[in-house]
């Protein structure tokens, strides 16, 4: 198989992979709203067409220049990472153009293209050095530098660094072997200096050993000045037109000096062939595997950055926003900027689930988006992580590829809510976020999580009649630490004057509050006194309280009514949550 065929095969695999990935952008979805694939494609085409014909085109151009080429956002968030990215991206692109495709591209711009002549000889090394420096910074960032909270290092992260390292190192090593090789030197002299005499060939070899890094088994320095002068004359006549001094290839030459003691071991066609194939195949593998690796962000990140420069919830078709979310999932480079800046990152030390860390959620999100079945346990683990997210928007502000993570979390929560694992957090003010974005949720899906959570709690306490079993010592402690001394204070002091009930805005908002809320505040205090836990935890009042503290403020007996409600909620939630996860474990 010829090398050209191999390149075309790799390219084809890469293109097929890209086509597959692009198809997932229209097939996968997050959130409660679902759209047909055809509608999504049509909406995307229409959206792109309209945008390109409008003034927004200039916004996209601006974004392409600043966000994509100059990486303005990354520079602001992580200057070191930005430098590394620019070095690798810039260096590798130039290597691709002037080295890999050099035979085709260079002659278009230069009349005297020879890979072994300057400036090409030097530039190849210079670009390689840029990439190498960038890789060193990335290795430092990934494996050595530690922030208070760090993203994990996945196999994909290692692969991405490794594929570049292999390409660069094999390239340098191949060149250094060629520099030191005496057989290459002799082949060349046979071809280009065949007419020279034995003595001048020897002088030439000495000159090349001295100045070009060739390692000769017969000749080693020091050489006499006359011999070197003679060698120089021969070299100038036969070699110099096509060979700039090897030192200009500073990395190759440096590596050649390093391996010179063992150079004879690598001399010979097989070693060079091996190195060449490693270099060549690593490039082809990188190309073929590109759509499935995180190097794919090369394509998705610019789309994401430019799309986000013109798309917004107000302006854009919701169908296109849904499609954009899947492209965003493909754009994530797992750089960890979100995790390093997550305001809840510190909580990872309390609840050691990776799902707290935004960068680690993307993998789970891809699974959710693809619609693959998740076990109850997996759902619970993801849910637990999401429940610690307070929607502070910090992650979205720092994402270098401009992913709207905030919106991704929102959609993911809605996708999770459709699965049959109740999430009790929806009964807390975290739901405000959801309520304020109600328009983005399908109507039947909107009420489901709250109803599920209420039902889970009612079920948990429905058969709870034996008061002795009400609290574990831990739960009692929790109530105590809430500043609520349940039995001594609330139980003893309340004499049902109904001040709490009469001051309650929720009670006042209902025409028949008793029926709507099950227990009125003063009744709840009495129920606590009588330890009627099933009544309390099954009552609507418990989770309808707004926590305005009027009852507590106005209570003549200083009963901490509101604090008590919060403490009771804690017990209701912790008990029910424990039961839910127990059931989940049983189903495994």
């Amino acid at each position: 198989m010829s090398k050209a065929t191999m390149v075309y095969i790799a390219l084809l695999i890469g293109l097929a992979g890209t086509a597959f990935k692009v198809s997932t952008w229209f097939r996968y979805s997050l959130g409660s709203k679902k759209y047909a694939v055809a509608d999504r494609v049509a909406a995307a085409v229409e959206g792109i067409w309209q945008t390109l014909l409008s003034r927004q085109f200039f916004t996209i151009l601006k974004s392409f220049f600043f966000d994509v080429i100059l990486q303005a956002k990354l520079k602001r968030v992580a200057p070191l990472r930005w430098a590394a990215h620019l070095l690798i991206f810039g260096g590798f692109t130039l290597l691709l153009l002037m080295h890999a495709l050099g035979v085709y591209i260079n002659p278009l711009f230069f009349s005297n293209y020879y890979a072994t002549l300057n400036p090409f000889l030097f530039l190849r090394n210079f670009f390689g050095a840029l990439v190498a420096l960038g890789l060193l910074i990335q290795i430092y960032n990934r494996f050595i530098h530690r922030d208070p909270v760090n993203p994990t290092t996945s196999a994909m992260d290692v692969y991405t660094i490794l594929i570049f390292v292999v390409i660069i190192v094999s390239g340098i090593f191949l060149e250094s072997v060629k520099i030191t090789s005496i057989s290459v030197f002799r082949d060349m002299t046979e071809e280009y200096a065949a007419g020279e005499e034995e003595a001048s060939l020897k002088a030439l070899e000495a000159y090349w050993v001295k100045n070009y890094g060739v390692v000769s088994p017969e000749l080693s320095g020091p050489f006499s000045p006359e011999m070197l002068a003679a060698g120089k004359t021969t070299s100038d006549m036969n070699c110099a037109q096509c060979h700039s001094p090897a030192q200009w290839a500073f990395m190759d030459y440096g590596a050649a000096k390093l391996i010179s003691p063992v150079a004879p071991l690598f001399d010979g066609a097989p070693a060079r062939a091996w190195l060449y194939w490693i270099h060549f195949l690593a490039c082809l593998f990188g190309l073929a595997y590109l759509p499935f690796s995180k190097v794919f962000h090369l394509i998705t990140a610019p789309i994401c950055l430019m799309a986000n420069s013109v798309m917004s919830k107000v302006r854009s078709d919701p169908v296109n926003l849904a499609t954009k979310q899947i492209i965003e999932l493909d754009s994530c480079t797992h750089c960890g900027a979100c995790t390093r800046n997550c305001s809840m990152g510190f909580f990872h030390s309390v609840l050691p689930t990776q799902m707290i860390l935004p960068s680690e959620r993307i993998g789970a999100l891809k699974m959710l988006a693809s619609g693959k079945p998740l076990s109850i346990k997996d759902s619970l683990v993801i849910q637990e992580g999401y429940n610690q997210c307070t929607n502070c928007t910090q992650c979205t502000l720092v994402c270098p590829v401009g992913i709207n993570l905030q919106d991704l979390w929102f959609s993911a929560r809605e996708t999770l809510a459709e699965r049959d694992v109740p999430n009790l957090l929806v009964l807390s003010p975290v739901s405000i976020h959801r309520g304020l974005r109600r328009d983005e949720i399908e109507i039947p899906s909107y009420a489901k999580p709250v109803n599920d959570a209420r039902k889970a709690i009612a079920d948990e306490f429905g058969s709870f009649h034996w008061p002795g079993a009400a609290y574990t010592p831990q739960e009692e402690k929790m109530l105590d630490t809430a500043g609520v001394h349940l039995r001594q204070s609330a139980g003893a002091a309340c004499f049902s004057c109904m001040t709490c009930t009469n001051s309650c805005p929720v009670v006042k908002s209902h025409q028949s509050p008793g029926a709507a809320l099950d227990l009125l505040p003063h009744q709840m205090m009495q129920a606590v006194k009588l330890r009627l836990w099933d009544l309390i935890f099954g009552s609507r009042m418990l989770f309808e309280c707004v926590g305005c503290y009027q009852c507590q403020e106005y209570c003549p007996m200083k009963v901490p009514v509101t604090d008590l409600v919060f403490a009771l909620r804690n017990v209701a939630v912790s008990r029910t949550a424990r039961n839910i996860s127990q059931k989940a474990l049983e189903t495994l």
């Binding site: 208070p148 800046n341 305001s343 809840m344 510190f346 909580f347 030390s349 309390v350 610690q388 307070t390 929607n391 502070c392 928007t393 910090q394 905030q406 009790l424 957090l425 929806v426 009964l427 807390s428 003010p429 975290v430 739901s431 405000i432 976020h433 959801r434 309520g435 304020l436 109600r438 709250v450 402690k477 929790m478 630490t481 809430a482 500043g483 805005p505 929720v506 006042k508 908002s509 209902h510 989770f543 309808e544 707004v546 926590g547 305005c548 503290y549 009027q550 507590q552 403020e553 901490p560 509101t562 604090d563 409600v565 919060f566 403490a567 909620r569 804690n570 939630v573 912790s574």
Partner: protein, 296 residues
């Protein structure tokens, strides 16, 4: 004591314009408040779900403030009340105090109980103070009738918050009057806006907001001004829904205290994130922001 802004998650999510206007307003009023990116949520949403998490979250913010040697300044009544209450609980409960410090130690933090949280209203009343504010604001909102929405956690539980009298608070009203506006007395002044029930029971949340609108209209208020983004968002959302109902001509517009001060200082409505808030023409007539055309 220096001051540091404590950002509110909900403001960041839904009113980022207003959040960034904070900076401009305090700069114009000559109040030095630093920015710091390391805070976490105050813990308010977790109070009824995971009590320890709530205390830990507030405790961490207090520890960060203590480390910086600065008082926390918030524009959110819920953040304000929550952190104050957590601080109060931490001071009374040794085991929780130890728990919080045990977790904080892992990231080299410690809380010794000297954290202070202030609402922007408190900060402004202290410096530049009413006379200073009057000089800087120039009475530009003269004659505008304002219903002040303190927010529950600004006032209650009063033994924990002790911001103002829980029965007849006046500090916010004094600040409003420094702009030249008139703080009206309204029956629903102390009541809850209903925001905590958004997403849990939207009907009740809406009813509570409606009570507020009715009362503000009865008091002939031109405007409701909130000291809390939750109240602001709840009013905005309820107004959108209620205005679809027949005969909905009574719905009083609302702004946050930051936005009102911004208007009084002549900031544009784009800057303040109140574009399309349908503020009354008579309010606009008195503002400096003539360079930005305002919708009446």
């Amino acid at each position: 004591m220096s001051l540091v802004f404590f950002p509110c998650c909900v403001s960041n999510s839904f009113m980022s314009d207003c959040e960034s206007a904070n900076r401009k307003i305090v700069d114009r009023l000559g109040v030095g408040i630093e920015d710091f990116g390391g805070f976490n949520c105050c813990g308010y949403p977790y109070k009824g779900v995971d009590f320890k998490a709530f205390i830990l979250m507030s405790g961490r913010n207090l520890a960060l403030a203590e480390k910086k040697g600065a008082d926390l300044v918030t524009t959110c009544a819920c953040c304000y009340g929550t952190i104050k209450q957590a601080d109060n609980i931490l001071k009374q409960d040794a085991s929780l105090f130890d728990y919080v410090n045990g977790v904080l130690r892992r990231e080299g933090l410690a809380y010794s109980g000297n954290g202070v949280v202030k609402h922007l209203i408190e900060v402004l009343l202290d410096n530049p103070g009413i006379p200073g504010l009057k000089a800087k604001l120039d009475g530009s909102l003269l004659g505008v009738k304002v219903a002040t929405q303190y927010g529950c956690k600004m006032l209650r539980p009063s033994d924990v918050v002790s911001f103002d009298s829980p029965l007849s608070p006046s500090k916010f009203d004094e600040l409003i009057e420094a702009t030249g506006a008139e703080a009206v007395s309204w029956t629903q002044k102390l009541e809850c806006c209903g925001a905590p029930l958004i997403g849990v029971n939207d009907a009740t949340a809406m009813q509570l907001a409606k009570n507020k609108f009715d009362s503000a209209r009865e008091a002939k208020a031109d405007l409701m001004v909130t000291a809390c983004p939750f109240c602001y968002l709840q009013f905005g959302r309820s107004r959108d829904a209620l205005s679809l109902e027949p005969g909905a001509d009574y719905i009083v517009p609302s702004v946050t205290i930051v936005q009102l001060l911004g208007l009084a200082l002549g900031l544009g409505e784009d800057t303040l994130g109140i574009k399309g808030a349908n503020l009354p023409a008579r309010l606009m007539r008195y503002t400096h922001s003539r360079e930005v055309p305002l919708s009446a």
